[in-house]
Symmetry: C2
């Protein structure tokens, strides 16, 4: 029996072209997290939770239908992501430069093409103390819980 290719494509595929220079076509470099001005949520975060980090959403933009999202993050020298934990998982792949990943009480250095699985509820933070920007892919599920921000002084 024949298979019609038209029938097979209910949801669209998506190609995101790399432009060079750690930039992709039709993908904006945006703030790591958008912080609404009049925010009253249990998901506490403040701009000082993170610094010098940009996000490029490759798969998972408005209108994308996939159940997994692919983002490219870049942390400049002295920058860091939130110290946080959540129920969802991360797959992280080093791409550019190198950086430090804190996993609970452990610290590792992540370099290009190193792959890291961050398990649910692990307190984690990514940071960069090197001159070259630290770039990495991060894959998450589309449906995910909000991170809980941790203060370094809260950790026992």
């Amino acid at each position: 029996m024949g298979v019609s290719t038209d029938q097979m494509v209910a949801r669209p595929c998506k190609l995101v072209r790399y432009k060079g220079g750690y930039l992709w076509r039709s993908v904006k470099r945006e703030r790591y997290k958008q912080v609404p001005i009049n925010k009253k949520s249990a998901h506490k975060e403040s701009p000082q939770d993170w610094a010098l980090i940009v996000r490029n959403v490759l798969i998972g933009q408005e209108g994308d239908t996939g159940s997994m999202h692919l983002r490219y993050f870049e942390i400049s020298k002295g920058g860091y992501s939130s110290l946080e934990y959540h129920n969802h998982e991360h797959i992280v792949i080093g791409v550019r430069g190198k950086g430090t990943v804190r996993l609970a009480n452990r610290k590792i250095t992540l370099r290009p093409f190193d792959a890291l699985y961050i398990a649910p509820r692990t307190i984690h933070q990514l940071s960069n103390r090197y001159d070259e920007p630290f770039g990495f892919f991060c894959i998450v599920k589309a449906k995910r819980d909000k991170p809980k921000i941790v203060s370094p002084t809260d950790i026992t």
Copy 2:
């Protein structure tokens, strides 16, 4: 209230170190698909469905607990993956060389850091007609359906 890091790590994180040369520590280059000798399943496949392709499972090996898997595939000149479709999705990221991706009746060339979302039930096949090996990351859910193999002559 303090947060104990010990409490937070119920499931282990996993770091897979890149060794250079498109190889990772403790990761075997293995056959693309294992074909049991006395196979009697609806999931029809034969060695001639694919050629000259190796798989490196970075996240998703025996014992890994994550709900998403990360694999690095490499297709040598003249090689190809199965022409197939399934309900699960792929996120593909070009890493090494370049190759061709068939998506239903469309063909695209994938180059390093190009990102591709392959939607459910899209007939697809990856192949390489270039001298350099075509390497790419492929991310899938851990729980996924078996691919259905399509014969090129079946497509209308």
